[in-house]
């Protein structure tokens, strides 16, 4: 399905970014950075959209139709931005399907921050949320690699979250 899912805080710093890029690759790999740049540039469109219309609908629709990717955006009432990136070569999704994905992510985010031990405004660390995102992310295309890759995915879960390496505190211990 999706190839990248991202949550961005009200102040436009990333809360959570997960891509289909194998976790064995460095965060700074070109592929990974490309997603980061993609999400980051989409904030322009979101800013503009939020400035222009007093949007009642949280779903902002297709933001950019860049050659290889379609990027959809969603803004919660507290201005948390959620992004779903889908490769254009993939099947086309109907708006309602995308909306459902966003609703799920939104609900997931809410239940994550409902955790009294959750540090609001910091990188999201939650196994449940991670699971949810994983179901939405594209399965690894290579069928041979599939089993081993997913194994890596689960084992490296907490490390894969990008900023967890520098968040300083003992993150990753809280579950809802």
């Amino acid at each position: 399905m999706a190839s990248c899912i991202a949550l961005v805080a009200k102040e436009n710093y990333p809360l959570y970014i997960k891509t289909v890029i194998s976790p064995s690759q460095s965060v700074l790999s070109e592929q990974n950075l490309k997603y980061w740049y993609l999400i980051h540039t989409c904030l322009d469109v979101i800013d503009e959209k939020l400035r222009k219309v007093d949007n009642k609908d949280l779903y902002l629709g297709l933001l950019y139709l860049i050659e290889d990717y379609r990027i959809y955006g969603y803004v919660t009432n507290t201005k948390i931005k959620i992004f779903i990136v889908i490769e254009s070569s993939n099947q086309q999704f109907h708006d309602t399907e995308i909306k459902i994905m966003f609703k799920k992510l939104h609900a997931g985010y809410i239940s994550t921050i409902n955790n009294p031990f959750c540090d609001i405004g910091k990188t999201i660390v939650s196994k449940k949320f991670e699971e949810l995102v994983k179901t939405m992310l594209q399965k690894v295309t290579n069928p041979i690699m599939n089993s081993s890759q997913t194994a890596i995915l689960t084992s490296n879960n907490s490390q894969q979250s990008l900023t967890s390496t520098n968040s300083g505190q003992g993150t990753g211990e809280y579950t809802i």
Binding site: V27, L28, H40, T41, V45, D47, G121
Partner: protein, 1205 residues
């Protein structure tokens, strides 16, 4: 690599019908030149003109060939567009100088016919039209018919030249512009349209006989031709239809390695045309949709893998031209672009494909050894004719073949090799950077600053690739700030890492150090080893050593690093060479070179810093304490050399410099607390002390110094992450604290970058005694008692008192302004009513310890208004230095061995709020002489004014005097003695007193409102509480016993007496023709007659004739004229005298007296009118009733005798 991404330049030219002009000799003939310039130079949008000789050879038309034998060689010929745009005319115009009255007509006619025939010969088999234009000198000769000569010669000429009569036109040199316009409209339009219609018809005819299987290429070519001819004749919609048809037919062709490029090239051309035309007819959505479809179809048609770069080049070109078309359409204002759909995206994609092209070509080149074959003329290169292809998109070594298989594999291999070689010579960087620049300019328009940043980064990478490290570094440095504000660390890390490489490669010391300070911080996502190495390099640079290249992971296969270390050495030598420091200027420049300031506001360094004054207020006699917290988050331990703090008051800068190396050696991730303390100067009392900056230096001044510079309130981007839910975080703090109670938590350190220096807390007591509320206008006394509670003598004591008004609308606590002098007055000590002051400073004598001083202050407030009174005591005394008692610190006591005595000044301020009330409430009544209440008085007639004065205040008030200051038009009635009823009276709370005046209003003719004057009351408050010692208390006991009147009179002389004036209301006074004055005893006796006298006074200026009557009643027997008609002279009077005899006792009604005015007539009319109009109360009788008494009390006779006895 023009062969793969070729879009012929002819396509961008706007197709216009080609019109060839012949017979003009512009070199030798000025008139001809003028004509040519007239056609050509005009900004022509209708035709394309070309000047040719009359005997010009046009491209020969191909003979009609049978389709059955036709072999398809390619889709579209390279020169086809060019040929039809520039070579084959739709119309040939033959100019010929000939006047109708030409003498040698026959010869000239022949000559002309020959010329036309020549043109016609060279256009054999073409549909090109020919027209003849005669250049004539005499425009006066009429063209149409009436001249016999013209009538005769016109058809003869047409006949001779065998052209239709409507293809012959005239041109007069005089009116050139007008003729040109007319010719274009009338003469050129029709033949060109006909030409293209014929061409289209011919092509259509050919197309209709095509066979689907064998003529696949023609199925593409012919619609393109039709479309282009339609374009020529400006029929855009038909053109679009035909191009679409061609595009669909093109997709029907089977793709293979041999023809992919050809199909793609043609597809590119058709797509270009389609998009261009769709934009022109303002259908941008259709154009974009067409382009997307085009890209989707051909994206995966890569062709031979050895030439994959060819495909990328083609893709790049597609996007680029689309971007250009889009841009052009916007510039021509066909429509507006939006944020999510504008040319920037296309340029961006184009750049990306160009980068991909380079990647592909590099991959291919790496795997291949370039042949070093030398192609000679005998053995020509297979791609020699690459620029001279017959058909678009074909391989030069196998042109004009429609085979799906490659016949000559060896030749193919050679050919591909040659193409690869050609590609390897391409330098794509300028193209790519240019595309990025174009994209950036578009994204800028649409407010996409992040996209702009991203593209800048891409551009910087491109420059880096192109080894223009300086340019690359410049761009990186520009975007770094933007990105660091947004906290996208992985992006930032990658940019910084690349920027550091650039800085290293160009040996830019300043930027190198700055980037290092950021990159070794905790936020970057680099491994600790890398960070450690970079930190080592930073230290090396600061100590003038060349950094180690291996730490930067530079791909040495691409980037040469040979000269870099030499460059570094030169840079360092340049900056530290001591020999150059001879003249002052250069030495300053050099020292500036050595200092590398890093302003932390724009970056996130590896050191966190927080500054805190330990208190928000410091007394002038205690030490200001400042704490600096530092925490490094680099990987390795680091040694700083100097720390200094700067303040807004520079005098304190000297106290906060730390150069101790031991205390500036920081372990990573530990919090270091540094203390500074200094004594504030007395001149700075009342000022705010703020930290303006904090600097931290690494390196010694001989080599190089990196200064981390925090400005303002140390808004380190790391210190506050700008999180939204700050309050929530604070709430959760106690839990964490209990986990590790001993350790200092960085997040818990509050930044407080400013403090105030205040004067020492005074120890003086100020007691205020007074009795609220203040009564308006009174001299309100306040008793001040100042007690010195200091240990020492107070000197320079001064008291300043100020009256401040309270703005009731806003905050009550903040008195805004002083009060107007006319409203309030203030005296200290004694009352001097001539002084108008509301604020003053008094110097008071020195006070020994425990001594006390008393002052009385009087305030007079003339309006009902609450206000604030501020008392400020300033003094100086000698005091001991130290902390406040409640903040004792032993560490300080040990430091200061001898107790310092400091002279310091103190301020004590007390404020009281005062309410005012009005003392009196007045009520007025007007009474007639008969004590009836009246509203209207008459001139000359006396009346009473009754003033009811009630005491509204809570205090007893004592009057000294009261009187009426009468108005100008008012007189006291002579008989009345105006003695004050209130004199020496005391009015207690809620009590009421009455004052009465009898007044007469001076005569006047017109009725009007008359001001009566002002009631003046002189009074004071009887009891002022404890302020005036015991005397008042006695008075309190006395209450209001009459016997003490004398004593009170003395009292009333004192200065506290004030005057309150109250204006009496105006009364309506009106004229009346007469006044009746009655004369009768105050009472009567039963059976004892007495005189009743009515004196009627004429108030008018004319003789008054009145009829008077006295009606009888049961109470009295009357003798006298009961009815009389009298005349009274002006201002004279007449007496009616009656003798009456009481018949009953008690309140007896007097016989009623009636008056009727007969003359002057106007008065009697006026009175009658008034009577009829108004209520009965206003009738003449009622008026008279008010003038004379209506009743008399009659005593019985018996009592009379008793009285007599």
């Amino acid at each position: 690599m023009s062969w793969a991404s070729h879009i012929p330049t002819e396509l961008s030219v706007h197709p216009l019908p080609l019109v060839v002009l012949t017979g003009l000799d512009i070199r030798h003939n000025a008139v001809h030149k003028e004509i040519w310039d007239g056609f050509y130079s005009k900004n022509n949008t209708k035709f394309r003109y070309s000047l040719l000789d009359g005997d010009h050879e046009y491209p020969k038309a191909k003979g009609k060939r049978s389709l059955e034998v036709y072999v398809e060689k390619g889709i579209l010929k390279t020169n086809w567009f060019h040929k039809h745009l520039y070579l084959i005319p739709s119309l040939v115009v033959v100019f010929f100088e000939l006047d109708w009255d030409e003498p040698n007509w026959k010869e000239k006619q022949m000559e002309c016919a020959t010329k036309i025939e020549l043109v016609r010969q060279s256009l054999l088999d073409r549909n090109t039209r020919i027209i003849l234009i005669l250049i004539q000198k005499h425009p006066n000769i009429p063209v149409d018919g009436d001249s016999g000569l013209t009538k005769e010669r016109y058809p003869s000429l047409c006949n001779a030249c065998s052209i239709k009569t409507n293809h012959l036109f005239l041109l007069h040199v005089e009116y050139l512009q007008g003729y040109i316009m007319k010719l274009e409209e009338e003469a050129f339009n029709e033949p060109t349209q006909t030409y293209y219609n014929l061409e289209i018809k011919a092509v259509k005819f050919k197309r209709d006989s095509l066979i689907k299987v064998t003529h696949q290429y023609l199925f593409v070519r012919l619609p393109i031709k039709i479309a282009f001819f339609n374009e020529m004749k400006q029929d855009i919609f038909k053109a679009i239809d035909n191009y679409k048809q061609a595009y669909l037919s093109l997709l029907d062709i089977r793709f293979g390695d041999t023809n992919t490029l050809e199909i793609k090239t043609v597809a590119g051309i058709i797509n270009y045309k389609l998009c261009k035309l769709l934009f022109e007819i303002k259908h941008p959505i259709d154009a974009i949709e067409q382009f997307r479809r085009h890209i989707d179809i051909f994206k995966l048609k890569i062709g031979p893998s050895d030439l994959a770069f060819e495909h990328s080049a083609w893709m790049s070109k597609q996007f680029q031209v689309m971007g250009e078309l889009f841009e052009n359409a916007i510039n021509k204002e066909y429509f507006n672009a939006v944020q999510t759909q504008h040319p920037g995206f296309y340029f961006h994609s184009s750049a990306n494909y160009s980068i991909q092209r380079r990647i592909h070509s590099r991959e291919i080149l790496q795997s291949l050894n370039l042949s070093n074959k030398n192609w000679t003329s005998e053995n020509p290169s297979p791609i020699e004719s690459i620029d001279k292809l017959e058909f678009l998109g074909q391989r030069p070594w196998r042109q004009a073949q429609k085979s799906m298989e490659i016949l000559d594999q060896l030749k193919e291999k050679d050919g591909i090799l040659c193409l690869q070689e050609l590609e390897s010579k391409e330098n794509l960087s300028p193209l790519i950077t240019n595309l990025f620049k174009q994209a950036i300019s578009h994204f800028k328009i649409f407010n996409c600053k992040r996209m702009k940043q991203y593209l800048s980064v891409c551009m910087a990478e491109e420059y880096f690739y192109a080894k223009d490290y300086q340019e690359s570094l410049n761009i990186y440095v520009q975007v770094l700030n933007d990105y660091s504000n947004e906290h996208w660390w992985p992006i930032l890390t990658s940019i910084m890492f690349n920027a550091l490489k650039c800085a290293y490669l160009v040996a830019d010391i300043t930027n190198y150090c700055l980037i290092c300070t950021e990159i070794i911080g905790k936020n970057t996502i680099l491994s600790n080893e890398t960070k450690s190495l970079i930190q080592k390099n930073l230290i090396r640079v600061i100590s003038n050593e060349v950094p180690i290249v291996e730490y930067h992971q530079i791909d040495t296969s691409i980037h040469s690093i040979e000269n870099v270390s030499q460059k570094w050495k030169e840079e360092m030598a340049k900056q530290s060479s001591p020999t150059m420091g001879q003249n002052m200027e250069t030495s300053q420049v050099l020292s500036a070179h050595k200092l590398i300031p890093a302003h932390v506001n724009g970056m996130v360094p590896f050191v966190d810093c927080k500054v805190r004054f330990t208190s928000t207020i410091f007394n002038s006699n205690e030490y200001v304490e400042l704490k600096v917290y530092l925490r490094t988050n680099c990987v390795d331990q680091i040694q700083f050399d100097k720390l200094y703090v700067r303040f807004n008051i520079p005098a304190y800068n000297q106290y906060c410099i730390l150069q101790n190396k031991d205390s500036l050696n920081f372990e990573p991730n530990k919090i270091y607390e540094l203390d500074f303390k200094f004594l504030p100067q007395s001149s700075d009392i009342g000022k705010d002390l703020e930290i303006s900056s904090l600097s931290l230096e690494i390196g010694n001044r001989e080599n190089r110094v990196l200064i981390l510079h925090w400005k303002g309130d140390c808004k380190n981007a790391l210190a506050e992450e700008n999180f939204t839910l700050d309050t929530f975080k604070k709430l959760s703090l106690p839990y964490r604290k209990s986990d590790a109670p001993r350790e200092l938590d960085w997040n818990e350190i509050n930044i407080s970058p400013s403090t105030s220096i205040v004067s020492r807390k005074s120890k003086i007591e100020l007691v205020l005694e007074h009795k609220q509320p203040v009564i308006v206008n009174e001299c309100y006394p306040i008793k001040l008692t100042i007690v010195n509670k200091e240990e020492t003598t107070i000197e320079n004591l001064s008291l300043s008192v100020e009256l401040l008004s309270i703005n009731s609308a806003s905050d009550i606590d903040s008195p805004i302004s002083t009060i107007d002098k006319n409203i309030a007055r203030l005296w200290i000590g004694s009352i001097d009513k001539n002084l108008h002051e509301i604020g003053k400073t008094y110097t008071l004598p020195n006070l020994e310890s425990k001594q006390q001083l008393t002052e009385i202050i009087y305030i007079q407030m003339r309006e009902l208004k609450s206000f604030e009174l501020s008392f400020k005591l300033n003094y100086t005394n000698e005091t001991e230095l130290g902390k406040n008692e409640d903040q004792e610190r032993h560490e300080f006591d040990t430091e200061i061995k001898s107790k310092k005595i400091v002279k310091c000044s103190c301020v004590q301020e007390n404020k009281i709020k005062l309410e005012t009330i009005n003392p009196f409430q007045f009520n007025f009544k007007f009474l007639s002489m008969q004590m009836g209440e009246i509203e209207v008085v008459r001139f000359g007639e006396p009346f009473f004014v009754l003033c009811e004065i009630s005491n509204n205040s809570a205090y007893a008030l004592k009057f000294k005097d009261s009187y009426l200051e009468k108005g100008k038009l008012v007189n006291f009635k002579e008989s009345e003695e105006n003695e004050s009823f209130l004199k020496y009276e005391t009015l207690k709370s809620i009590e009421m007193a009455t004052e009465c005046f009898c007044l007469v209003i001076n005569d006047d003719s017109d009725s009007k409102k008359v001001p009566l004057g002002e009631l003046v009351l002189k009074w004071k408050r009887r009891n002022l509480g404890s302020i005036f010692d015991t005397k008042e208390i006695d008075e309190d006991i006395e209450t209001d016993s009459e016997s003490n009147d004398d004593l009170k009179q003395d009292d009333l002389t004192d200065e506290l007496i004030v005057e309150t004036r109250f204006p009496l209301p105006e009364v309506l006074a009106e004229p009346f023709p007469f006044i009746i004055e009655s004369e009768l005893p105050d009472y009567g006796w039963l059976g004892k007659e007495f005189n009743l006298n009515y004196k009627i006074i004429n108030k008018t200026q004319s003789v008054l004739e009145i009829e008077c009557s006295l009606s009888e009643n049961e109470f009295f027997a009357i003798s006298g004229k009961k009815m009389d008609l009298i005349q009274i002279l002006p201002n004279d009077f007449y007496n009616f005298t009656y003798l009456i005899y009481p018949l009953k006792i008690g309140h007896c009604k007097l016989p009623s007296f009636h008056v009727k005015v007969n003359s002057p007539i106007e008065i009697s009319d006026a009175l009658k009118k008034q009577e009829s109009q108004a209520n009965s109360s206003d009738s003449l009788d009622t008026v008279i009733e008010n003038m004379i008494p209506s009743q008399l009390y009659i005593f019985p006779e018996k009592i009379d005798s008793i009285f007599k006895e």
